[in-house]
Amino acid sequence: MFDAIVIGAGMSGSWAAKELCERGLKTLMLERGRDVKHIRDYPTTNLNPWEFEHRGQMPEYIIKDNPSIARCYAYREDNAHFFVKDKDHPYDQDKPFDWIRGYQVGGRSLMWARQTQRWSDFDFEGPTRDGFAVDWPIRYKDLAPWYSKVEAFVGIAGNKDGLAILPDGDFLPAWDLNCVIEHFQEVVRNKYDNRHVIFSRCAHLSEPQEIHLQQGRGQCLKRVECERGCPFGAYFSANSSTIPWALKTGNLTLRPHAVVESIRFDEETGKATGVRVIDAQTKEVTEYMADVIFVNAGSINSVSLLLNSTSSRFPNGLGNDHGLLGKYVAFHNYRGKMSAIHEGHQTRTYKGRIPTEGYIPRFRNVRQQETGFLRGYAAGFGARRVKEADEPVGFGATLTESILGKKPSLGPWRVHSHMMGATIPKETNCIRLDESKKDVWGMPLIHISMDYDENDEKMLQDYFEQMTDMFEKAGFVNIQTRDTKQAPGLDIHEMGGARMGHDPKTSMLNKWNQLHHCKNVFVTDGACMTSTSTQNPSLTYMALAARAAHYAADELKKGTL
């Protein structure tokens, strides 16, 4: 018997566990994948590029067997061991959906892009203003202190930019941006009223504080090999930070290889009593009991788990009286990419590298509706100048001379941008359980149905038009736009399916992330999201998880949960 069970040892689950353990609750954390110990299990972290057998290229047989993850920008030879193979964990899909997963202790916190931005009330009030989904039951003021708490512990490098659309936090120093990003920053500032290019806030220890040193984490050395796992703990991962912190309390029991089959519900008390777990390796079934359960298995898996948790009271899934569970799933539209050449600043360059670039917060439809589509997009922006070699030519001595005879020289400044668009949650974008197909543990296969819509297409065109205009004003040339046409999923920001809301008739979770109809179950990962906005969502998941865990601990102590 535990006080609390946390399902999922990733970004948000580890935050729930940390908070619960710090509050003195005996907590069991269940992770379906293997254990990944900080440093010990980062096998490639100190390898040089020439030490990789395929020098970064993925073997053909892996690509063939795993077409979805092979399309992911982050899936590489140096970090392939952190990605779930498509064929090991199949799922059904009506339309293409590339589901990128990390089944291990630490989850996707090992592989994330580490970009961290707060939401503002422009985001929380979006559904009500624009008439989609349901109203969020919280506002920025509810989450702001939890953003601060998380930021202080995680360590976020950033500037106080003073933008209402992207509230400032408690930041570590930002690194300076290079002169071409600064040039673009100045052009945008001078030519537009409401557009800004800022340092893209990221979860890196640019200047570790005492709290980070206590975690055993150190200064970011700007290697930018982050997705291999950082041996210095310089970027935030559950493995380097929240999980060891929770373990130090003596209150955490971590159980890897634990596939949670369902949450058990007691009809008499109207509460969940525990979970039924299948050992991923032996398939042995165990039940664990607890007073409170946090569901943090990752949006789609969390929804699936609730759908699979049936009882006489909830024949369609735990808390799912209205059939909303699994519906109104959304994601981010990352289809737009741009590139160009900057012919200026030829006498300037930079030295070394940093793990982030520039960021353009949302500027469309912020204070009023001004386009033919709802909501808007943020954008990444970067400028690089690297040594470029001439094309190798000929054979024999001629070929050697063309490669080794002349050292590569600085090429032109190349600028690039990518779009991060909000998508509107729709009933038709949904997750359900397959009625006939089962996985290797005998659980129903997950069936995903997601697609873009007209709003996404209009937004994409607007991104191209607006960014082209901005690039032209900055004097960039050879401007290229590219619609990757990538399937949903590759943004790795799937959200919703068990949304928060005021009304139990139209939402699954209340303002504390509790199931309306089963108050001792909390869902604090991406599944809880009512809408998507444009920000990278992990910081918000962590803040919601910390806030809900704190509330759960309070309620347990009061005996009201």
């Binding site: 070394g352 054979f395 080794l404 590569p408």
Partner: protein, 171 residues
Amino acid sequence: MNRRKAIKSIIIASTATVFFSGCSDTNVIEFIRFGKLNLNQKHKDYLAIISETFLPVNGVSEKIGNPVDFILTMINDCRSVEQKMEFAVGFEQYKYLMKESKLRIQKADPEAVIKAVGEILEAEPPGRELISFIETVKDLSIHNLKSSEYYLSEYLDYQLIPTEYISCLDV
């Protein structure tokens, strides 16, 4: 047979995927087992000579690493079965061409080999497998060089841990 005739005969033969009985040693195609190309030492040595002929790296070869190991790893792991087959057929055709051109493996003048290769690349119609083999060996030899510690350190100043970050400085 002169070289042009040899090239022509290879091209004709390759369109029907015919293999040559004129070579006394084992046909490369026979080294494809269970979807992998497992060359014997003799063929590895031959491939090393081809790579060195295409991209001579005298004086720095020890710093670059064995191109044959890299070429075979990439062929085996990063190419389809069809591409492996094409490589093997092209290799066999290359051997045949050199033999017909009286260009002995160990003693051939690199210049003469390159001249022969140049004629292959300019031949009409092009011999798909042979050209693919030549380009693959060339490209992977270049890849091996340009991803080596020597090249990355000496030519691109690569450091796993950069000494410093300076956001803006004069070129």
